[in-house]
Amino acid sequence: MSDKEMRNAQKDESMIIQKEMIAEHYKRLERAPETKEPVVYTFVPGNLTELIRSFGCLPVLPEINALQSGMRGKSREYIAEAEKRGHSEDVCTYVKCDIGMAMAGNIGPTGTKLPKPDLLLLSYTGCYTFMKWFELLREEYDCPCVFLHVPYQGEGEIEPEHREYMVKQIKDEVIPALEKISGNKYDEEALKERLRLSVQAEDDLVWVLQSAMQKPSPIDAYFGAVYYVGPIFSAFRGTEEGVNYYKALRREVQGRLDAGLGPVAPKGPMAEEKYRIVVEGPPNWTHFREFWQMFADEGAVVVASTYSKVGGTYDFGFRHNPDDPLGTMGDYCAGCYTNHNLPGRIDMLCQYLKDYEADGFLINSVKSCNSFSAGQLMMLREVEKRTGLPGGFIESDLVDPRYFSAANIKNRLESYFQMVEARRSSSAQKGMSA
């Protein structure tokens, strides 16, 4: 696809609504130094957006900024800048992109300047690198950092003592830190109200994601879902804007379902759903639309993905509970996808393949992210063994364009879909002869 075609790529109505919401949020962030709204940087997995908002603070998610920089073609220069300053070529490119962006004036995704953080809320959830990232940002911004240790689900469940440990930290560390920077006292009723709004948005999001169980699927649950999860994973959980967005999205998807339409890919609506695929791993952001179009060109629709669960595994039943505001935040944090152990992640993939009646699964293994990538080759074999469905493995990176080889990925995808086709023909033949 040419750059011009990419720019003219079709957008859903909900994408336009979201764009406006985000633009407004970044404008508000830009004005924060004047309006004195405190700014809290935090991470997508384990974000405590409702709590942050309940203090009148504005959240900033550095991963979102990094991926947006990747999509806008800025990440190469940012990464180069960070590497010049001694950051290793081996480590997470989100971190280097973010640091490079800060060094280049901290201009955010919408072209407005991002304010410095008043607080770094280090929700240590499912990713070791988060800890180093905020230690690095603390040096960059010379601001306070509050740490929330979220224990990993090593045993495949949230242990009650771990939950209690998280609640104590939220109560004794996180809330006092937010009180200090905002000048506001903790207001549990305000938090509960925000959590009620979260539940509404979560219900609608799950409905949208699970619409992919229909044939044809009205959505793409990987590339498309990146947009769908944007508001709830970032600044808009627990807000009226978030609720309204998800209502609109649901209406839109319902409309497509009623009309029997498939998802809208970068070059337009998909005419045919030839393959139903489950995807594990984050997407590449520097060539996002090109990557998506490779799937669309093959008639492949992603019906479920694990990446769209990094900010919460709502489709497995979790909802924020307004009656237990601090406990529910602990549950939320511990339940984010990358905080699940490897057997749990394998179970999830197998469940998706079954529930969504998929033809197979693909792993996009990104160089930057050991949290996702370490163990994925074993996941590939285990899921194949347990489901009998074909798995494919492709490699790229989050935001470093040097690691996206379009020709290699396209070749692998074509081979993979040929394999799926061959399996399908073979199954059909067996069925006929039986």
Partner: protein, 391 residues
């Protein structure tokens, strides 16, 4: 000619280090029916708890000498080497003596390996250990105490026993002695590095990861006595600290190369788990609580734990250089090691701001060519000797 007692100790340690079959562990297990061994991955594991369950703590540190046949099928090229050799050891049945395995929260690779282990060895006791990360030492200690008790109960079940307080206190006492002798060895090397070549110290420490603590202490004390009495004379070398090799271990050849390039290593991170707590653990009172509070109050400053002090990263290298009277720092991390490589810019900036000369390179445990390291370390050493005072 009979080798000197010191040379015999080094030969003993070398043999253990080079043995990919863990013969010394197997012999320990065979010596008495019913004995069991528990493995642990880097960096830190509470060996006291394993020992108190009557089991042998066995450090699983990979091995650069092993030919990787199966391990590469589990890992992409951009993941460090350590888990490949660990999986290779496991898949080739070289770790079939393990009854339990503990995986500390060192990084995401080791974390995810814990899940892989659960799948590969469904009958083995496998526990992912969340080291306490919070700044509040009381809350951190409460959390870690509970984790320790979970591990204690789990290992007790594997060993077919209940790990009582008295057993745990006794094991704490033994490991206090281990820490003390290791501290003495490190202190001697820092003071008179010509008497304790790091190549030898490292081999001894590596042997200490797989033998019973009582055996290790005998050998370590004998080595210490021999080293103290050594008449080795000081050479004109640069005193350096090696930083960043706390998880995947460098090949022995790299350690030798750095020393032979004109450096005395006066402090390092190798096998950092054996020096993770910088104080003795009290032996009176609740032993799990003592282990936990000693951890939260005296854990070494390292990349695998959150640094609550905003100035902590910047000042750490200066503090370590001052304590070891080091002339320079060599940042020596394994390729793709997130903890070491993400920390490096902060640590290096702090060191350079304090006027401490630094260089950095990366290795893999199976690195076989040392020429580039020799040139870098040699040039670094020469430059400090020639111009060190000029700055």
């Amino acid at each position: 000619m009979t080798p000197s007692p010191r040379a015999q100790i080094v030969d003993w340690a070398t043999e253990i280090y080079e043995d990919l079959e863990f013969t010394v562990v197997r012999e320990w297990l065979d010596a008495q029916p019913g004995r069991k061994a528990a493995g642990f991955l880097p960096v830190y594991a509470p060996k006291e708890v394993i020992h108190a369950a009557g089991m042998l703590p066995v450090g699983i540190h990979g091995n650069g000498a092993i030919e990787i046949i199966r391990g590469d099928a589990y890992y992409q090229s951009y993941i460090c080497h350590l888990p490949r050799s660990v999986v290779e050891l496991a898949e080739s049945n070289r770790l079939d003596f393990l009854s339990a395995a503990l995986f500390p929260s060192t990084c995401d690779v080791i974390r995810n390996l814990s899940g892989m282990w659960q799948i590969m060895f469904p009958d083995m006791y496998v526990r992912y250990m969340h080291l306490p990360q919070v700044a509040d030492p009381v809350l951190g200690a409460q959390f870690w105490q509970r984790e320790l008790n979970v591990i204690r109960e789990g290992l007790g079940q594997v060993a077919g026993t209940t790990v009582g307080d008295d057993q745990l206190r006794a094991s704490i006492g033994i490991y206090n002695e281990v820490r003390e002798v290791i501290g003495q060895l490190y202190a001697l090397r820092s003071k008179q590095p010509w008497k304790v070549p790091t190549e030898e110290l490292y081999l001894l420490m590596r042997a200490g990861e797989v033998v019973a603590p009582e055996v290790f202490m005998d050998q370590a004390r004998a080595y210490l006595a021999a080293a103290e009495n050594s008449d080795e004379r000081i050479k004109d070398r640069t005193r350096v600290i090696i930083v960043g090799s706390f998880c995947e271990q460098p090949p022995l050849g790299l350690i030798k190369t750095i020393e032979r390039a004109g450096c005395y290593i006066v402090d390092d991170d190798f096998l950092a788990g054996n020096r993770f707590m910088t104080k003795a653990v009290p032996t009176a009172g609740d032993p799990a609580a003592n282990l936990a509070t000693t951890f939260t109050s005296s854990a070494v400053k390292t990349s695998v734990l959150y640094e609550p002090d905003p100035k902590g990263k910047k000042s750490l290298m200066q503090e370590r250089a001052a304590a070891a009277r080091a002339d320079g720092i060599i940042f020596c991390a394994a390729s793709f090691c997130d903890p070491a490589l993400l920390d490096r810019p902060m640590l290096r900036e702090g060191a350079e701001a304090a006027g401490i000369p630094c260089i950095a390179f990366k290795f893999a445990e199976n690195s076989g060519q040392f020429q580039q390291f020799r040139e870098q370390a040699g040039t670094f050493s020469d430059s400090i000797k020639l111009w060190g005072d000029a700055s």
